[in-house]
């Protein structure tokens, strides 16, 4: 039987390589265009923030200067920026993994508290040799966060229960239980503030200021831990079978099942890993930022983790970049509020405007469309 298609294949040979070149060129161009456009949108967002301040009749130039250069003016602020970015990156990554499996987990908040609680309990009560004193609490935090992640994970994967509801409800429960344990059982005796006893010095995450001999506020080696975790998450998603399963399940669960992947288990793993990362974020807060437990210790970070994950398009590198950008703006906002006449409400408004504009990806799209049209001619 002679293949009647031989000539077709041959005929396709030439345009094939040309198509390939075009594909690669387009891909390169897309990356460049996306990057440029992201920078541009941030610039536009800042410009609009400028106008917002101007509208309130305050010294817009000074305010903008504080927002944009403030975080770099003093090393403690740099430290605050890095410490904030560490927590935010971990939270962003924790959200990004279930998102990649197309699971909208909003459970980071509860997992943060679970992680903080577990790590602090270990770090306050157990006497451990030096390195283990840090690693064991971290492990406990990851376990606690992961276990908490497993609850909505199993509910979703095995029963089909909506994960948004499950995670939101679980957050509410965990935060209340945390408050209860803290006020009624863990409050340090003799302290008039509601806070736990401090963690043992061995368990506190070593401060970066001790290494670099400059004051860096609470920035600690958690930063490097976070970078390692981000690299690991990248590796997990891009280079391991489990990561592949997560990606495929997120893209088309029917296809995943057809292809022989265990979809429920993959979904559960995505929740568990996400939970573990949020638990680590909690440990970073407990062992690195507060040195113990406090009520409301996550502040608004858990929700901002979602913003960071989506800004970074659920890509580990993107998430870290987005977290750095976002926490830079958080610190800049605080500097602006401290140094200028712009009030904390206006700072909130400006941050909201920036978030909204940076997510509005129309500008890059419009430019891309324009480029495509020009090329087509």
């Amino acid at each position: 039987m002679t293949s009647t298609l031989e000539p077709a294949a041959e005929q396709q040979g030439r345009p094939e390589t040309q198509g390939r070149r075009e594909f690669l060129a387009t891909r390169r161009r897309t990356v460049v265009v996306e990057l440029t456009m992201t920078v541009l949108t941030v610039a536009v967002a800042v410009l609009i923030a400028f106008l917002v301040v101007l509208a309130t009749g305050k010294d817009a130039g000074g305010a903008l200067d504080a927002l944009l250069t403030g975080p770099l003016e003093r090393t403690p602020r740099i430290g605050r920026w890095l410490a904030d970015a560490t927590t935010l990156s971990l939270l962003g990554l924790s959200v990004a993994i279930p998102f990649r499996a197309r699971q909208i987990s909003l459970g980071a908040e509860g997992q943060v508290y679970a992680g903080a609680l577990a790590s602090a309990l270990v770090a306050i009560n157990l006497h451990l040799p030096p390195v283990a004193a840090v690693l064991v609490p971290l492990g406990a935090a990851a376990l606690a966060g992961g276990a908490l992640g497993a609850v909505p994970g199993v509910m979703k994967a095995r029963l089909g229960a909506n994960e948004i509801v499950a995670t939101l409800m679980l957050n509410a429960v965990v935060v209340r239980v945390f408050d209860y344990l803290l006020t009624d059982h863990l409050k340090a005796p003799g302290s008039s503030a509601v806070q736990s006893a401090p963690v043992r010095p061995d368990s506190a995450l070593p401060l970066l200021s001790d290494f670099f001999q400059v004051p860096l506020d609470q920035a600690n080696i958690g930063l490097f831990g976070m970078l390692a975790v981000a690299a690991a998450v990248w590796f997990l998603l891009a280079r391991t079978p489990l990561g592949y399963r997560i990606r495929i399940t997120g893209s088309n669960p029917d296809f995943a099942r057809y292809g022989g992947l265990d979809v429920p288990r993959t979904i559960e793993w995505s929740f568990v890993i996400g939970g573990a990362l949020a638990g680590l974020a909690g440990a970073h807060l407990a062992l690195g930022i507060y040195g113990g437990l406090q009520p409301d210790m996550a502040g608004g970070l858990a929700f901002e983790g979602i913003v960071v994950a989506l800004l970074g398009r659920n890509n580990p590198v993107g998430v870290v970049a987005a977290a750095l950008l976002y926490s830079y703006l958080r610190v800049g906002g605080d500097v602006m509020e401290q140094q200028t006449d712009v009030g904390s409400d206006a700072v909130t408004i400006i941050q909201a405007v920036i978030v909204l504009l940076v997510t509005a990806r129309a500008l890059p799209e419009l430019v891309k469309r324009y480029l495509a049209r020009r090329e087509a001619r």
């Binding site: 409800m169 679980l170 509410a172 009624d184 408004i349 990806r361 129309a362």
Partner: protein, 320 residues
């Protein structure tokens, strides 16, 4: 426990449930409309907050509670439309845009209140009044029922009426028809000439208006002034009710009512000698159990009947 039981079985408690549930029902129905149109509306909280603030301010300055209510509802709708612009036209992710808008509403309400009244806490120094309660002359006298139904705020009545209205809108009207089509299969809707974005915008406006009504209820019904952040996370609870109610008006209503009941119950149980934090966790534990139970039952039901697999899953939040 005895006295608590008495209270729980009292008409006052039933009346309280309706009051407590009102914002949940209204906002959840709003969330439902947006979700069914294919746009997850995380900005319910922001819509509620801006409506609560606008309503109290306008009522206070104009002297008319009705003007306040209308402007409040409009403010809620406006915020949702902003979500529409960002998500539908500017390609923003609906979830981040929603979170961003909630942030914006928090900052802007507090800023406005301070700019106008010089008070960061709220508008309690302004006489803004509340929307009237509805007395039901005849029903009022029926023992039991009368005390529950009569004297409820107009917006509580609106919430009760909203459920059948939303159901009617979704299932009986052309608009609802298009809305569901757009949410379920936007391509199909577009291919028959339905303006997908236009329908989604209208759905969002309604969604925001309903959430706005919920906010107006808080500042002009439950109490008669605005306090910064007074929605206190109710928008997120409403969002949970949307999904717990399986995206159906009746289910969403029952879920919202369930949250209201649980909260009212927690208020009553608060006097018992149980740690307050644990008592306030009860509604959420209850929701989790209900969620698991219903999901389990649905799953078991779908195992046994041999209907062919659906073409597409139910409309859930779009993929991130």
């Amino acid at each position: 426990m005895g006295p608590v039981l008495d209270v729980v079985l009292s008409t006052g408690f039933l009346a309280a449930i309706l009051g407590v549930s009102t914002p949940y029902v209204l906002a959840a129905l709003g969330g439902l409309l947006a979700e069914r149109a294919g746009v997850p509306n995380i900005a319910l909280e922001g819509s509620m907050l801006s409506a609560a603030c606008t309503g109290a301010l306008v009522a206070g300055y104009s002297g008319s509670v009705w003007a306040g209510a209308v402007c409040g509802i409009a403010a809620g709708a406006l915020l949702a439309l902003l979500l529409g612009v960002l998500h539908l036209y500017l390609g923003a992710d609906a979830i981040i845009a929603g979170i961003g808008l909630n942030l914006l509403a928090a900052g802007a309400t507090s800023y406005t209140v301070f700019a106008l009244l010089g008070d960061k806490g709220g508008t309690s120094r302004l006489h803004s009044g509340a929307l009237p309660s509805v007395r039901l002359p005849l029903i009022e006298d029926i023992p039991g029922v009368g005390a529950v139904l009569s004297g409820q705020n107009v917006l509580t009545w609106a919430a009760l009426a909203a459920t059948p209205v939303v159901a009617w809108l979704l299932y009986r009207t052309r608009f609802g028809f298009h809305l569901r089509a757009v949410g379920e299969h936007p391509e199909a809707a577009r291919s028959v000439g339905i303006h997908v974005h236009r329908v989604q915008f209208r759905a969002l406006a309604l969604s925001g208006a309903l959430a706005g009504a919920a906010g107006v209820f808080l500042s002009m019904g439950a109490v008669s002034f605005f306090v910064t952040g007074m929605t206190a996370g109710r928008g997120y609870i409403a969002l949970a009710a949307v999904f717990l109610g399986a995206l159906r008006p009746c289910g969403v209503f029952l879920a919202a009512l369930g949250f209201g009941t649980a909260e009212a119950l927690a208020v009553q149980l608060g006097n018992l000698d149980v740690p307050s934090q644990l008592v306030s966790a009860i509604p959420y534990v209850f929701t989790l159990l209900a969620l698991a139970f219903f999901a389990w039952r649905r799953r078991r039901a779908s195992r046994t009947d041999a209907a062919p697999a659906p073409l597409a899953g139910p409309a859930v939040l779009e993929s991130p």
